[in-house]
Symmetry: C5
Subunit: 354 residues, 5 copies
């Protein structure tokens, strides 16, 4: 997920509002799909040309146009013109390194959020920008590529389950936000598991892989945090109901999303706190191990070095060394050695090294 560090990159020196796609180029075709519904009927189709969507604009029904893929700038531009979007908003749709935000353009709200999902194959967090434009009777959603977390919402629209068919575009926007935020929880869970595994490893078996994994975990948390904190401001601003586009009955649902965002932030902060102490624990654990190693070395060396000295002493070749002639010289030397060794061991035991 190191890619978000490079997110800084940006077309420089262009006039503001110049539409250039900045981001990863995903190879698939750009796909524009439409759902148009009210409590009684539902129409669902794929648009070959954005212009096919224009008749839906002025109907009373809720129209949801979803765009997968951003690299065909003309499609985005056509939709933008159709719904009267500000050039700077379109620029933000295309520049996929935005931080989450909400902007109120009187006749529509422009919302940018980050959709995270856990790619269990790559064992990695996949990060994608989702831009929402919420008007009185329409929602436009722009995604970087196909495959999203909105399938549950579509099912609910199709099945007519819950309130969604009876309520307006603001509730649809809420449902999309909610789907994105809900997807953060499994990610947190996987982070939780990694944290726990690391903690085990840290104290019992610290290696340089542990160090690397601490580092990766830290980066993932920093990345997650960068997505979630501004999201809090977004949901908070929506929930305060300042925009006339948000119906009072939707606010309580937005508050629920806000609560979930706070819960995500809480969890991220808890993980950060746990991870932030890990390097110190790692160092402590290593020092502990080094201490063990040193003790072994010290015990062996300090026992045998004096013994070897005694042996060396009587290995000298002086012509006159009286002890060498003594019949009990050899046993005496062994006895001295034993005494030295025992003294040392007693000393170590007293210092609790053994």
């Amino acid at each position: 997920m190191a890619e978000w560090l490079r997110r800084a990159s940006r077309k420089a020196g262009q006039a503001p509002g110049t539409l250039i796609h900045v981001g990863e180029r995903h190879e698939e075709e750009v796909k524009v799909s439409l759902m148009d519904y009210d409590a009684d009927r539902l129409e669902e189709r794929v648009l070959a040309d954005p212009a096919e969507g224009s008749p839906y604009r002025d109907r009373d029904t809720v129209t949801w146009i979803n765009v997968d893929g951003l690299h065909r700038v003309e499609v985005i531009k056509a939709l933008g013109d159709q719904y009267g979007l500000h050039p700077l908003a379109l620029e933000d749709v295309l520049n996929t390194f935005q931080r989450p935000k909400v902007e109120d353009y009187a006749d529509h709200l422009f919302i940018v959020i980050r959709m995270l999902s856990y790619d269990s194959v790559q064992n990695d967090i996949v990060d994608e920008q989702v831009s929402l434009v919420v008007g009185p009777n329409y929602v436009l959603s722009f995604q970087e590529r196909e495959g999203d977390v909105f399938e549950g919402v579509r099912e609910r629209i199709r099945g007519g389950k819950g309130r969604i068919r009876r309520m307006g575009s603001d509730y649809l926007a809420y449902a999309l936000l909610d789907a994105v935020v809900d997807e953060y929880f499994p990610i947190l869970e996987s982070l939780g598991e990694r944290t726990e595994a690391l903690e085990q490893e840290l104290i019992s078996e610290p290696t340089s892989d542990t160090l690397r994994e601490i580092y990766n975990l830290k980066r993932d948390l920093i990345g997650l945090r960068k997505s979630v904190w501004p999201l809090r401001e977004v949901t908070n601003r929506l929930e305060r109901g300042e925009s006339a586009l948000i119906q009072p009955e939707t606010i309580i649902f937005l508050r629920d999303v806000y609560d979930h965002t706070i819960q995500v932030i809480d969890s991220v902060e808890v993980h950060r706190e746990l991870v932030s102490g890990m390097l110190d624990t790692y160092l402590s654990s290593l020092s502990n191990k080094m201490n063990e190693v040193m003790k072994v070395l010290t015990i062996i060396a300090t026992i045998f070095i004096p013994l070897s000295f005694v042996a060396g002493l009587y290995g000298m070749n002086f012509v006159i060394m009286p002890e060498l002639q003594l019949p009990w010289g050899y046993p005496l030397a062994l006895g001295i050695m034993a005494a030295v060794a025992i003294t040392m061991l007693a000393y170590f035991r007293r210092r609790r090294w053994l």
Copy 2:
């Protein structure tokens, strides 16, 4: 208490307000009990069916319905319908990984708090969600399992001690909150004892168990903190008396609970500060010990290595080595060795290693 890290997990992709119990499944039967009282009379019973509680709804007396166990969703739903609870509130009751909060639904307050208790058998902190619904003349309380900290409140109602029988449902809610917060103090005390024991161990006898215990203490504090900080907001919002359901004479009591919450937070923060420095102390203490080990090794090695060299020197087998023939060669060699050893010892003493 690592479970709260996994608390992130959540049913995803469901319509909001879908009632599914998310949490640990406790095997006991769901138990619904009712206390109905005013200054003069008290009725206490166990309800086989929530419907039995409906006659009490419209009486002037204070009705307290307590539910132990959340896994029978239909019971919760029946009660919710009876008292007109919002589906999102019911969802929060069932999803037991909420952070403490209070929500004002005009005709009732919805309060979520975390009831902690110290399980001295498991030597662990037990964490349970308690949801309160406070209406003009009733309090509903939902707990995850039987066994709670409300026994003192029940006794006071039964005995008619203090103000409780003379006051309304808001005072009952206060009494329940107060009972929950009071239970935090013994937990803090047990944490205090662990902290003190650790501090002793840290400096005198650091082992890898110490490291593990520091880590556990830190986690417990993070968990406690996660419950207590939002509780502060809850009690603060109640104490400000914004809701019409809170009588002025109850506010001073709620302020008292707020004060206690602040005291708990103060203590948690003090503990965190103490624990946060422990890893550094641990490392320092280990380094101190390693220094001792190294000194012993160095002293022994640097004394004997030169001596052994001298011994080795005169163990060489050169045909012509004049010293070997000298009558005083051996004593001279011993003398040199003694001189080297004494010099070394003097050096170490001067450096204060001895």
Copy 3:
């Protein structure tokens, strides 16, 4: 001063307002003393029974009733009833583990502060709770034991020095607060001396006692901080003059106390900052020393190990070893050894280890 960590402990499950003394039991008798004065006259007596104080209640003079010792609950209760104190306030007087606070009960202010004094015999900070009740013409003060910092105030009342006899109960309350805050300065000074002594020791002579002293200093600072920060809120709230009980001419004096509190906080924070870096300095200093030890070991070992090898080489007993027969074999061996030693020394000098 570890006692404040245990301060968490509290009677649980009691009805609010139940009066039980929670705190250290001091063996002395409870002593109730009274001073009643105006600009012209002064009466001073010890009350055997709180009831003896009631005639003073309705006089225009300022009445100061001071209670030393809290373990006779009935005395406190009698005074409380006489002056119409709220049960929760009385509970706070008796529960001596409160954090500083001020509460405005319309007809009186209830103030809790912590009186610290330095016990130079025990070399310890003594911490005591002082509760003040400030009414229109009276001040009640409750202390845990005899012996306080108010003697200067009494002298000023007796001597009629300064403004105190000419002003009201609010000025008396100010004078008591001021006396308590003034006493913090000598404590800070003693902490400052300990900090300086530690700093000297840290770099020149780090031992495990240094570690212990760092830890103690840190705890004392945390404890001090826990008393001082809420005191700031207390003095700030008083100084803002929101209560009708505080005369405008007293406010400037309360601002002075507030300034002193800020000064205390500043000093505590400076000390904390200094102490917080000490563990790292300690570790650095230790590492420095270990480095010295390692260098000595390395120098000795790397010089003599090769020499010993050469000696060992010519101590081998092979029948055919031509060097051993050479007349200049022994001097040659010595020469090689000298060369090796000199090379090594040169290497060490180049690396600046010598």
Copy 4:
């Protein structure tokens, strides 16, 4: 980029408003260039004397006077007098160590920002002060030296691309701000690359160069931060539209600059967080390596030291040493050595050192 640390330096003891150039002296000539445009026409010239610019002052067209080089104080002063600038503002233009700020002098805005650019030759961040004076129909810009990031803006004015020719001086000021902020992104990108390279090196191959590079990165981030944080206040104040000089239609563009500033700050903070943990990682990585070294030493030493002792033992020259006479004495000694060595190896394997 250590120069910004020295930025503290300042002419002291001068009367306020005394005009002295404080900063690096750049040798090039001071160059004053002018662009005067409206939707229909564009005039572009270099002014030999600032007085040549005065006729443009009262025209309706937008006049942009750009000054490269600040060391000819009289030029600055002449312009200042012409446009009625406050002496303190002129002082700030000349003292090139200002922090970014905006000041509202009713008839003009005075803006100071820092223009950073990445000098890929010197591999260094170049930091320059840009002062803008924004009046109703003019913009003055002052730079320390020639060469800037405004070329794109000039091209857009010349080409008549986008809105710039149709809008007023406030939009021109926006365009200049935007150009400066846009230039921060490539700098962030280069920092990102350095961070990533360091991270690789940190864990696999820590050297003292790594340490130095961590330090440099840290300094660059501190310097960047010092420029960016106050810039946020600047753009935020402009975007709030408090000044009558900012047209409503420009505000949305200023909000865009504000968003970019926030994005830059986000990235700087992420980098700081990553870098702040690097020293700990470095230390951990080093300790890991030292542990490896120690293990090798310990294994070799603890295996051979006992073996050497046995060899030394039977190298002693006692007259009576029965083992020496035994026919199987030598193989026995070898066997004992082998047994010791194998035991040691087994021990190490059990401790997982091998």
Copy 5:
């Protein structure tokens, strides 16, 4: 500069407003000098007795009375009475351990600031309290000793340069504040140089002196910070122009002082951030060096220890050791040793220790 730590000390138990000089006793005579000026005339004299100043009080001219030395309390008191100062303000003048503050006594402002200057002889920061009393047509300034940073202001008054003679007492107060703040910049510069020198030393040549210098730098920064942060509040409050004594045209100058204060704070914070990481860098650098030492030891020891063992082996005196009899036994032994040494060296090279 450790003295500021002791600043806590304070006369305790005195009635508020009791005038006692608390601070260092400077031996010089107390000197009271007066400047009285308007746009046209200037009178300058030294007052033998404060009473000589009273005629100037009611003139329209600006009167600046400066007192050097505070140990003659009666002089301060006489001035205080003459200008109607509050006893608490006089107490603050005399108690020279105040934190910077501003207090508004309706008819005059009382300002306390800290004047720092760099004593290049002692290589130390000298810290002195300056109290200003600003009335409608007078400024009183109190300093601890002679010698100050106001000489530039006096010169401007004498020379009639700039605005000073034309403006009122508020501008004079501004000029004094500005002179004090300007003096902070050279101090910052000297700190910057020390920081840079330390950084060089840190990585290349860490010694225990480095550690001591880091510590000193940290203390100096903490001390500086303690003076500067409250100064920010002071200048900010003045600049907001709440006092009627500050003329609107002076406010823009005060804003300039405020900006400089912010710049000083920025620099202090940058230095603190740099210094705060230094201990970690120091430790890392030391570990790096220790690693080098350990590698040398390990290489030498692990090469020669096995060699010495082989030598010892063939130094054994067993009667039957077949190798010893072999004609090529000695060369074979040498060969084995060479092989072992080469293997070891190859191993070290592979691990990149060489």
